[in-house]
Symmetry: C2
Subunit: 141 residues, 2 copies
DNA sequence: CTAATCCTTCCCATAATGGGAAGGTCAAGC
DNA sequence: GCTTGACCTTCCCATTATGGGAAGGATTAG
């Protein structure tokens, strides 16, 4: 089938299918006219990618998961390990976000939020932070 | 002071200070030799940016907050609104992440995680999702 | 035969940051 | 004065994952 069909059945845009091929995540057969040609198995792979992406795995992680999936002899321990690491990562990011939410809520609670102009939120934003251990690369949430 | 000093005092890298200037977030005086020149107020602005970035605001949001900060007559309501929207956004993302974590934990719980190769995690990843409200564009072709 | 859809590749843009090169400037030491 | 090293400048490239769109070839429906 053509890329348009594969896209519709997998839920992955044609644009992304070509990109995944470009970075070596998948391969595609070509027909005489240069068109990419996909079969049912290819669609399954694309659905695999779609699903794992939806679950927040990076393409690099997806690549690892795909490799494990293709290697039918690998111990399930390896798969579980990747999943667990991802869970840990998500939980860490959630903790960081929760801390930020707490801070913002506290600030917002002390802001009148009316016509008056004085605002402790901005006051806080502009105040110097005690830069304790500078080496912490802030988490990109 | 030079950009290196401003960077050290604000915790914003020189690279980023130049970038913020490039996108119009800040301005910088220049000395005769072409070097950027910062004063205490500039450092405060940079700290403001640093703080809001640490709290997860995008540069566009930071730009809005900066504008509110510079306009001393604006009602605190506007500031509180931006903060509240950001809180909502964070909470929404946390909910989504929690749902993913729940899914992954369920999958991981059913995976032996030992030498055996059968693994329900990968099985799930490879199974087609029922694309319910996927508003598929008229499959007319 | 023609027009509408496909498909192809190639370039650009996004958000925020870092790396590094090539070259100008300044301050300290001898 | 001259050298050296630490600064500064601009410019280009890379990152992650995705989409937009152009130019042009292929196919298909009418």
């Amino acid at each position: 089938m053509n890329i348009g069909d594969a896209s519709e059945r997998s839920g992955v845009s044609a644009k992304m299918i070509r990109y995944y091929e470009e970075i070596g995540l998948i391969k595609a057969a070509r027909r005489a006219n240069g068109y990419r040609d996909y079969d049912a198995n290819d669609v399954t792979v694309l659905q695999f990618i779609r699903r794992t992406r939806d679950l927040g795995f990076s393409l690099e992680e997806v690549s690892n998961l795909l490799a494990l999936w293709r290697d039918r002899k690998r111990p399930s321990r390896e798969v579980k390990k990747l999943a667990s690491q991802h869970i840990q990562d998500l939980e860490r990011r959630m903790r960081e976000m929760r801390a930020v939410v707490r801070t913002l809520k506290t600030l917002a609670d002390h802001c009148h939020g009316d016509e008056r102009s004085d605002c402790p939120i901005l006051d806080d934003f502009a105040s110097a932070r005690p830069k304790r251990k500078t080496a912490k690369k802030h988490a990109h949430a």
